[in-house]
């Protein structure tokens, strides 16, 4: 499967700076709200965003299109860096991490890019809304707050096995949503 994003990463691997600029313009509006939702603080978010794309430029040669879409590649890298930042802040105890309900969700921040498949997003959102609350809760605690399965089990007061099952079932549901959207 050849995609524009994949082609841009291939050109980045060859040291093409113009391709990097286009890659950034294409994916930063997708990655930025995710990073912001995880780290909460706009200055931290800008910082993490820069690290993510800098690392992507350096790691472009390792991207393998057979293993995933460019979107999933950059999202996964962004998410794990953002979580690292949150965990480091938590360890230092410097940053108060607000509960997830209080944080600005990606939907409220404004400045949406109308060019990127609004119709697909509507399908995905509708699909996500069908995810049972219990499954969505454990997945979001891990995905956006960086909690481990043990921490989630404590938070939702359920046995570890139940947390695992909810993650697995939620993942299955997400895969169905993804199939419908593409």
């Amino acid at each position: 499967m050849k995609t524009l994003g994949g082609e841009l990463i291939r050109r980045m691997a060859a040291g093409d700076r113009e391709a990097f600029g286009r890659f950034y313009d294409r994916y930063a509006p997708l990655v930025h709200p995710l990073v912001l939702r995880i780290v909460r603080d706009p200055t931290d978010a800008a910082d993490v965003l820069q690290e993510v794309f800098w690392a992507a430029w350096q790691a472009a040669t390792t991207y393998d299109e057979d293993r995933g879409t460019p979107e999933a590649w950059i999202i996964m890298r962004a998410r794990s860096r953002a979580i690292d930042r949150v965990r480091a802040n938590r360890r230092r105890g410097e940053t108060f991490v607000a509960p997830v309900e209080d944080a600005a969700g990606p939907g409220e921040a404004g400045g949406a890019d109308p060019a990127t498949r609004a119709a697909d997003r509507a399908v995905v959102r509708a699909g996500l809304e069908r995810l049972p609350d219990a499954q969505r809760e454990v997945i979001e605690l891990a995905y956006y707050e960086g909690l481990t399965q043990t921490e989630i089990a404590e938070r939702v007061k359920q046995p570890l096995g139940t947390v695992k099952t909810r993650i697995r079932l939620g993942l299955e549901r997400l895969r169905e949503v993804l199939k419908q959207a593409t």
Binding site: F20, Y24, F53, W54, T69, I75, M76, L171
Partner: protein, 261 residues
């Protein structure tokens, strides 16, 4: 072990939420090159990305882009021209035709970079796997030694003898757990690594006559463990000396550790 267990762990791992022993276990399994799990992870990353995809697009502050382009420009000025030239030379040397279209040059350049990267990754993987195996082996040895000692210590005839550093290595310490008919185990610490052509050798000394009791290998931290076979008689002194590689039948080098008589 059945693979079902890893099927349960893979989604949690993909979400970055696996912890404790299970995380270690799963990573070890994955390092073994399980394609089934790798496929599940790739697939899961795609599915979890759906969460981020569903959000609105929000343009980041412009200074991030400016800083990045500057960084990439600075890095390219320092790094890329040299790499390009090298890979061009390699490529040119490998082909008879040196006049080619620019697009072919780019493709060869990219291929060379991919190949180089693949080579590095293969070497890294092999090194990690070797490291893991060596570590596992060392742990197994320690475990066996500890078990043997626990068994020995249940016997009232067993004694524990302290070893003191001597000569070139006064900081070295050690213990021998010794049973006259079952033999024992020796544990040492703080010994410097022997020179390349030397080795540490163990001795049991009875009536003033030293008997070779095996070689003593050290780990990277200067610790070592060895099994001592029973001598068939009493032992007055346990000692460690520095000997030519391979060991000798009678001590020639300095004593580095010895028990008090």
């Amino acid at each position: 072990m059945s693979h079902e267990r890893f099927d349960d762990l893979a989604p949690v791992y993909a979400l970055g939420a696996l912890d404790g022993d299970e995380a270690v276990e799963f990573e070890r399994h994955l390092a073994g090159g399980c394609e089934r799990c790798q496929a599940v992870l790739d697939d899961a990353h795609e599915a979890f990305a759906t969460l981020a995809r569903s959000g609105e697009r929000v343009a980041p502050p412009p200074h991030v882009r400016e800083a990045l382009m500057e960084r990439v420009g600075a890095a390219s000025r320092q790094r890329l021209p040299i790499e390009r030239r090298r890979s061009w030379l390699r490529w040119a040397g490998a082909t008879a035709a040196c006049v080619v279209a620019a697009s072919a040059l780019t493709a060869a350049y990219v291929a060379a970079r991919y190949e180089a990267r693949l080579g590095v990754m293969a070497r890294e993987t092999a090194r990690l796997r070797e490291g893991l195996l060596a570590h596992e082996h060392a742990l197994e040895q320690q475990l066996a030694a500890t078990r043997a000692v626990v068994d020995l210590l249940r016997d009232p005839a067993t004694r524990v003898v302290a070893l003191r550093g001597a000569g070139p290595s006064p900081q070295a310490t050690g213990r021998v757990v010794w049973h006259p008919s079952a033999g024992g185990e020796v544990f040492v610490a703080n010994l410097p690594a022997p020179p390349a052509d030397r080795t540490y050798e163990l001795w049991t000394i009875a009536g003033g006559a030293p008997k070779p009791a095996g070689l003593l290998a050290l780990d990277a931290t200067g610790r070592g463990t060895a099994r001592l076979e029973p001598t068939g008689g009493p032992v007055d002194v346990f000692a460690v000396t520095l000997e030519p590689a391979g060991g000798t039948s009678a001590p020639t080098g300095p004593i580095v550790l010895a028990s008090a008589k």
